[in-house]
């Protein structure tokens, strides 16, 4: 509109004209939100994830409404087609597929978020230490990260997942408990997943520690840990958030692969990965059993990837976004 031509009354105050040209004052968060919306697919992805999470949380309510539980076996109705009682049909043991998908979602989403957060925390801590203290520590940690990245991870994870936890000194009752496979997979993924974040944070720390505000804090006598946590971390957090969001999708994929191969979440606890193991055996008689859990994984992972991409536009603009 302002390009339509000079306004006839060209004598308003300079301040007002500047105000009109600059537009109202907006916070950085407002611009970030605008860039997030401009991604077009990021918001739908976020809403999808919220809906999936809510549905998984409400699995108990769904059990109440349907009047039976996800673990109830009905051997007379194995691999049954969808019906009024079982909206998506039943699996190879006659358990309700919809309920198991919801419970599997709790496991897959929970493991994905927990493992991604653990990996990001380890990576952030190591990256800060490597970048801030430099020297031998930095060289060692970065060589270690290079080596972990260079290894064929999936077979290595399979070996680690097949270990006998009692031989590691864990007491029998802990190792055999139901939640053991949950903790194990989170720990495994955190163990190999920290490298990306560590490199990102190290790079950011290297450039931030030469800046005036960090030098000033050092001159005022702030300790190393305080500088890292209070001054460097808040300025390096945006790329970490983006990378962590993007990694959740990968973590869910990894969890589903390991569970599918029988090395992740152990049945009878359902996860989208191990539900496919059973479905693979009935592929000729009941192919739809193999479609639903995979579709859930696919939708969740693509939503996390699109959300991460949108967050990258929003938080980490490199002059690379459309406006």
């Amino acid at each position: 509109m302002s390009a339509a031509g000079p306004s006839p009354s060209s004598s308003p105050s300079l301040a007002a004209a500047e105000g009109a040209a600059l537009g109202p004052r907006r916070s950085p968060a407002w611009y970030a939100w605008r860039r997030f919306l401009a991604h077009r697919l990021a918001l739908p992805a976020l809403l999808t994830l919220v809906a999936l999470a809510l549905a998984s949380i409400c699995a108990l309510l769904a059990e109440r409404a349907l009047g039976f539980s996800a673990a109830d076996i009905d051997l007379l109705a194995r691999a049954a087609p969808p019906s009024a009682k079982h909206p998506l049909g039943t699996d190879e043991l006659g358990r309700d597929l919809l309920l198991r998908l919801l419970y599997g979602g709790r496991v897959s989403l929970g493991v994905g978020l927990a493992a991604a957060l653990c990996a990001a925390s380890i990576g952030t801590a190591l990256g800060l230490l490597a970048g801030y203290y430099g020297g031998r520590l930095d060289a060692f940690l970065m060589r270690l990260a290079d080596s972990v990245i260079a290894l064929p991870l999936l077979p290595l994870l399979i070996v680690l997942a097949a270990l006998d936890p009692t031989k590691l000194g864990l007491p029998e009752e802990v190792a055999r408990s139901e939640a053991a496979s949950l903790y194990r997979i989170v720990a495994l993924i955190a163990l190999v997943g920290w490298t990306t974040t560590a490199r990102l944070v190290r790079g950011a720390t290297l450039s931030l520690k030469a800046r005036e505000f960090v030098r000033a804090a050092e001159a005022l006598g702030a300790s190393g840990p305080r500088i890292m946590v209070r001054h460097i971390l808040p300025n390096a957090i945006s790329p970490v958030i983006v990378a962590t969001t993007l990694s959740v999708g990968n973590v869910i994929l990894l969890e589903s692969v390991l569970s599918f191969l029988g090395l992740g979440i152990q049945p009878p606890m359902p996860s989208w990965g191990n539900m496919l193991t059973g479905a693979q055996e009935t592929i000729w008689s009941a192919p739809m059993l193999a479609v639903w859990p995979g579709l859930m994984i696919f939708v969740t992972v693509i939503a996390f990837n699109l959300l991460g991409d949108g967050l990258q536009d929003a938080l980490d603009p490199r002059g690379d976004v459309k406006m």
Partner: protein, 314 residues
């Protein structure tokens, strides 16, 4: 250049050495050692016999000592026997390494031949309709669980249409083998294509922003020559490198694909060996896979220096 090569080879050897020790130690933590298996197979075996057997096989010695005798034997080319196949492990592994390389090579070539033009087309008009469609496809590619894709392909082509075998290696000549290769190669191609498109697209966008591209346009070169002759050649440098670095991921994809389709490659062999308590086979297989991946990384570094004369390897 020579110094660089020597240093990188040295680093790779250190990683390999650390890896072999770690895996050797981890294998000992797996459920069921060889003597346990003998006990479960023969109820007449007394605990005293078991102790004696452990002493004969050296299982009562400390880990470092056992590792050292394994390593010295391995360095002379003796990698031991596979329990499940009753053959030297290398005799089992080498043909299967060949099968894996066939699968990975075919998938890589197909993926690359599709990803290159797709990534270039997406980068030419960023955020246009073409780019949006291609980028969404790439996102779908990286988000699709490969084992689920394999199941879907089996449902479509083997169960419903009956056109292709659902798995196995085939044994009736070249055509039969090719038929058995179609679905695994499709799976692995699709599993790697999304990442490749994204690499090509972002490298091309970077290259198209450079001054030499503006110069080429100002000279009046055709857009095709600017894009393919000038920008793409420079974009290929990071793309080739990152793809070689991705070799480990591709190997993971191959493991899943081989397991799904019963293709007798390295990945399936390692997986079966771990699940079937054939630990020596798993150990050597894992190390062989590591050597392959480390070699690919080394090649990536060398290719980087060769493709980009501005970079001096030192």
């Amino acid at each position: 250049m020579i110094a660089f090569l020597v240093r990188r080879l040295g680093e790779s050897l250190v990683v390999l050495f650390a890896m072999s020790f770690a895996v050797y130690g981890l294998i000992g933590l797996m459920p069921g050692d060889p003597i346990d298996l003998m006990i479960s197979a023969d109820p007449n075996l007394t605990p005293a016999d078991a102790e004696r057997l452990k002493a004969i096989h050296g299982l009562d010695r400390p880990l470092v000592e056992r590792y050292w005798s394994w390593l010295t034997a391995a360095l002379t080319g003796d990698f031991g026997y596979s329990r499940g196949f009753a053959k030297p492990v290398m005799e089992v592994l080498l043909p299967r390494l060949g099968n894996t390389l066939v699968l990975m090579g075919a998938a890589f070539i197909f993926a690359f031949c599709i990803a290159l033009p797709a990534g270039v087309a997406a980068a030419r008009r960023p955020f246009g309709v073409t780019d949006s469609a291609i980028s969404l496809f790439a996102f779908a590619g990286i988000s699709l669980p490969p084992f689920w894709l394999a199941i879907l392909l089996i449902i479509l082509f083997a169960v419903t249409l009956g056109w292709l075998p659902a798995g196995g290696m085939g044994g009736g000549g070249a055509l039969d083998t090719l038929q058995h290769l179609v679905l695994p190669v499709m799976t692995l191609t699709f599993a790697s294509i999304g990442g490749q498109i994204r690499y090509v697209r972002s490298a091309m966008r970077e290259a198209l922003r450079q001054d030499f591209v503006r110069t080429a346009r100002a000279k009046g070169l055709s857009e095709t020559r600017v894009v393919y002759g000038h920008a793409l050649r420079n974009a290929m440098i990071p793309v080739v490198t990152i793809m070689a670095l991705d070799f480990g991921t591709l190997f993971g994809g191959a493991l899943i694909t081989e397991t799904m389709f019963g293709w007798l490659g390295m990945g399936k062999t390692i997986y079966d060996a771990i699940m079937g308590n054939d630990y020596n086979l798993a150990l050597v297989g894992l190390l062989l896979a590591t050597v392959t991946v480390l070699l690919a990384n080394l090649l990536a570094d060398l290719a980087y220096g060769w493709l980009d004369p501005r970079i001096r390897l030192s």
